[in-house]
């Protein structure tokens, strides 16, 4: 049980919590946070596991760096999407609005056959 | 042999079929009716002028065709061709414009079938022509389009189809045993078959429908009267004989003696001959009486068939006699049927003459001496001597024949009686006169010059008739007495 392994276990815990949050939470921003939590957990596991020889292994660290950038890009994109989604629909969750099921039908009946 | 050549043979059968071209265009239809008598002409020439024994191979036809004629077939051919010719002549005068084209087409088709089946030596052609005749005959039966005709047609067709199927199965089984497609090989095969009874039963029943065998005859008295008169004539005179011919060419005559079958057929024949008469005398319409008369006559022929089947040795001569009888009956019956459509002339003398000429073929049927009937009956009697046959029913044959003659005579009286009741007075178209005249003439006179089967016993017919006159005459007399009594009793009532 080296200290670095402790990081790994912390990562495991983060993954578990993050997963729970990701699956449980409805609010999109919270979901996104949960995703980031998992991400952090994964990075921790990656770095922690590889360090067990005592000296740090630069490769996973570089990988994690790349991973973080990717995660940031994804998060940023998600935030942009969520904001715009909120702007358009006023919703913060993915749940289909109750009236939604009836709406498209009525609308398509109205506009059916109209040339683009 | 001058006339015999392949094209001519083909022509004789195909001419009626070819004539159907005339139906294609409206302008030609009028001429079609005048062609009707010409159609059987080549066949008639073929029958009269060409010695039997010729054959013609048609390898591509069906499953291998072979046409030809022997003694027996020649007689049938001559009869058929003549009768159709006469019918054709008569039809020209008889036909109205009602569905004329249709009638001509079916006439031609039936004619082709009837001629073709006679000269077919292979099974497939024979059966084909037989079927053609059967189905096309329906067109003649229902021609008038009345409800009665349609009903008669339905019965005719139903029974004919069942008969066809029986024939097909029987032929199929026989051909399978024979391993050959030729009719000539069938009798031997049937003679040696394991399931002889089934094959025989099928063939007897199948052809029996056409031949008006008792219990299979129901269509006959329905169909013959409703058909147009010329058609009735050929139906009763020629087509009915096709069934007989079917028996003669398929059943194992001369191969093996089958007394059991012989007995059965003789009994059936007797039933037909007497039963037909019994029913016939109760008919109200002349053509119905004639139809029953046909049944009755076919009963007599069945009787001979039974005898031939019972004794292999006599098959040959009996065939010849049967052929003669067929010739005689066909012509006479044709003439009788045609006469039903004749209107009586106004003059009393003419009426009497006409009645005489109408009655003569009838009397000929009953065996009046110096008629064709007498000749056939004598030839028949000559052969059917009880002692020479070795089967159970043989002793009763002469009796049955006499009874048959009585029955026939009764029917003739009955016919004349009802005919008198319905016959109108007026004028007849020339072609009807011509047709009827031809029929009567051929029945009474031409018969003697027609080519008789070779195997008919040679005889000095004139003297024989004089000699046998009484034996021929007494049944007629008996029948006349009965008829007179019956007439009186009816009158008194």
């Amino acid at each position: 049980m080296t200290p670095s392994l402790l990081y790994a276990f912390a990562g495991v815990a983060l993954c578990g919590i993050g997963l729970f949050g990701f699956l449980r939470l409805q609010h999109l921003l919270r979901k996104l946070m949960a995703f980031n939590l998992i991400g952090s957990g994964v990075f921790l596991v990656m770095v922690g596991l590889a360090q067990r020889n005592g000296q740090p292994d630069p490769v996973p660290q570089a990988l994690v760096l790349t991973g973080i950038v990717v995660a940031i890009a994804a998060t940023a994109l998600a935030v942009v999407l969520i904001r715009r989604y909120y702007h358009l629909s006023g919703q913060t969750t993915l749940a289909e609005p109750a009236a939604k099921s009836a709406r498209p039908k009525a609308r398509s009946v109205n506009r059916e056959g109209a040339p683009e | 042999m001058t006339l015999f050549s392949a094209p001519f043979v083909l022509l004789s059968v195909m001419l009626p079929l070819a004539s159907m071209v005339l139906s294609c265009r409206t302008e030609w239809q009028r001429g079609y009716r005048y062609c009707l008598p010409l159609l059987p002409l080549p066949a008639l020439l073929l029958g009269v002028a060409v010695e039997p024994g010729w054959w013609l191979e048609l390898p591509g036809l069906l499953i291998g065709g072979l046409w030809g004629a022997d003694d027996l077939r020649r007689a049938f051919l001559v009869l058929t061709a003549m009768l159709w010719l006469i019918g054709g002549v008569f039809a020209i005068g008889y036909l109205k414009d009602h569905h004329l084209r249709r009638f001509c087409v079916f006439w031609s088709l039936t004619l082709a079938g009837n001629l073709g089946l006679i000269i077919s030596l292979d099974i497939a052609s024979f059966y084909s022509f037989f079927a053609l005749m059967t189905f096309a005959g329906y067109g003649l039966v229902v021609h008038e389009g009345t409800d009665e005709a349609n009903r008669a047609g339905r019965v005719y067709l139903g029974m004919a189809v069942v008969g066809e199927m029986a024939i097909l199965s029987g032929l199929l089984m026989a051909a399978q045993l024979a391993g050959s497609g030729l009719l000539a090989n069938l009798p031997a095969a049937i003679a040696g078959a394991d399931r002889q009874w089934l094959i025989m039963l099928l063939l007897l029943a199948g052809f029996g429908v056409k031949a008006g065998l008792p219990l299979l005859h129901f269509w006959l008295p329905l169909a013959h009267p409703v058909a147009p008169t010329p058609a009735s004539a050929v139906l009763s005179g020629a087509m009915i004989k096709a069934g007989l011919l079917g028996w003669l060419v398929t059943l194992p005559f001369g191969e093996v003696s089958l007394p059991g079958w012989g007995n059965a057929l003789v009994i059936l024949g007797a039933v037909g001959s007497l039963g037909g008469a019994l029913l016939g005398v109760r008919q109200q319409r002349p053509k119905a009486v004639l139809a029953y008369s046909s049944i009755s006559q076919m009963g007599l022929m069945t009787l001979m068939v039974g005898a031939a089947l019972a004794n292999a040795d006599y098959a040959g001569p009996l065939f010849a006699v049967m052929a003669l009888y067929v010739l005689h009956h066909g012509l006479a019956k044709g003439s009788l049927f045609l006469s039903t459509a004749m209107a009586l002339p106004t003059s009393r003398g003419g009426q009497w003459l006409l009645w005489l000429l109408i009655a003569l073929p009838g009397l000929s049927l009953a065996g009046l001496p110096f008629t064709s009937g007498a000749a056939s009956k004598l030839a028949m009697k000559e052969l059917l001597k009880p002692d020479s046959f070795g089967f159970a029913m043989a002793p009763y044959l002469p009796t049955l024949m006499s009874a048959g003659a009585v029955a026939t005579m009764l029917l003739v009286w009955r016919f004349l009686w009802v005919q008198r009741a319905v016959a109108g007075v007026g004028s007849n178209p020339a072609f009807m006169w011509l047709g009827w005249g031809l029929a009567t003439a051929s029945s009474l006179i031409l018969f003697w010059w027609l080519p008789w089967p070779e195997a008919v016993p040679e005889k000095a017919w004139l003297s024989a008739m004089v000699y046998e006159a009484w034996s021929l005459f007494w049944p007629m007399l008996l029948a006349t007495v009965i008829a007179a009594l019956a007439w009186r009793s009816v009158k008194q009532r």
Partner: protein
């Protein structure tokens, strides 16, 4: 009730997952990795042109990863600005006139710029590098934006797009030029390794900052909407 059950089940699933992960980690930790990658790395560090192993991995050994990673960033940026209001950056709600922020900004922005420069430079031999520098740069941009400085170049236009793509393009060009020279894709010529990496780092810093900033700025207030296919009006 069913909600509670759902949570329980979910929690159980997550626990099982964590447990399994834990066990696996534990078991793996007990084994010796058969490949000694750090050793290999140390052996080849000389040839990489930089002293710091992480930077060497990022920009030389596994530079393809980095190239694609920047691509991911650019995609995010593109996707972000594709939603931006094209007309104007003025979003009154985002502007604060907080004087404290304004003051802070005056102090911090220069400092942060310097910090970013340092991080970039440090990358070659100690922790630091393009991303870190870019992040700091972007943060200063965010601050300026919050402070209400116009920053016209962030308006979606050719300038912004150029900025977005600059780092990536340079990286790509280097990669392909090396391939043109007959080597593999991304194989730097020996002589120019260090300067090339430096150039790449620098432009990357700039571009990363641009992307992050652009994503922050892209306010989804685009009025125009594209209807779904087949439901057009």
């Amino acid at each position: 009730m069913s909600r509670f059950l759902g949570i329980t089940v979910l929690a159980a699933v997550c626990l099982v997952f964590a447990g399994a992960l834990m066990i696996t980690v534990w078991q793996i930790a007990g084994t010796q990795a058969p490949v000694d990658l750090p050793g290999l790395l140390a052996d080849n560090l000389e040839a990489s042109g930089v002293e710091h192993p992480i930077t060497a991995v990022l920009l030389n050994f596994r530079s393809y990863d980095t190239l694609l990673e920047i691509g991911v960033l650019v995609i995010a940026g593109i996707a972000g600005i594709s939603m931006a209001n094209t007309a104007s950056l003025e979003d009154p709600e985002l502007r604060t006139s907080d004087s404290l922020l304004y003051a802070l900004q005056r102090w911090f922005v220069p400092l942060m710029l310097v910090l970013a420069g340092y991080l970039l430079w440090a990358g070659s031999d100690r922790p630091g590098g393009a991303f870190q520098a870019g992040a700091v740069l972007a943060a200063s941009g965010v601050m300026m934006r919050l402070g209400g400085i116009p920053m016209e170049f962030l308006r979606p236009g050719v300038l912004l797009r150029l900025g977005l793509a600059l780092g990536f393009s340079v990286f790509l060009l280097v990669a392909v030029v090396s391939a043109m020279a007959g080597d593999a894709f991304l194989a730097y010529p020996d002589a120019f390794t260090k300067p090339l990496i430096l150039i790449i780092e620098t432009v990357l810093t700039f571009s990363i900052a641009m992307v992050l900033l652009a994503l922050f700025v892209s306010a989804p207030v685009n009025g125009a909407e594209e209807p779904e296919e087949g439901e057009s009006g």
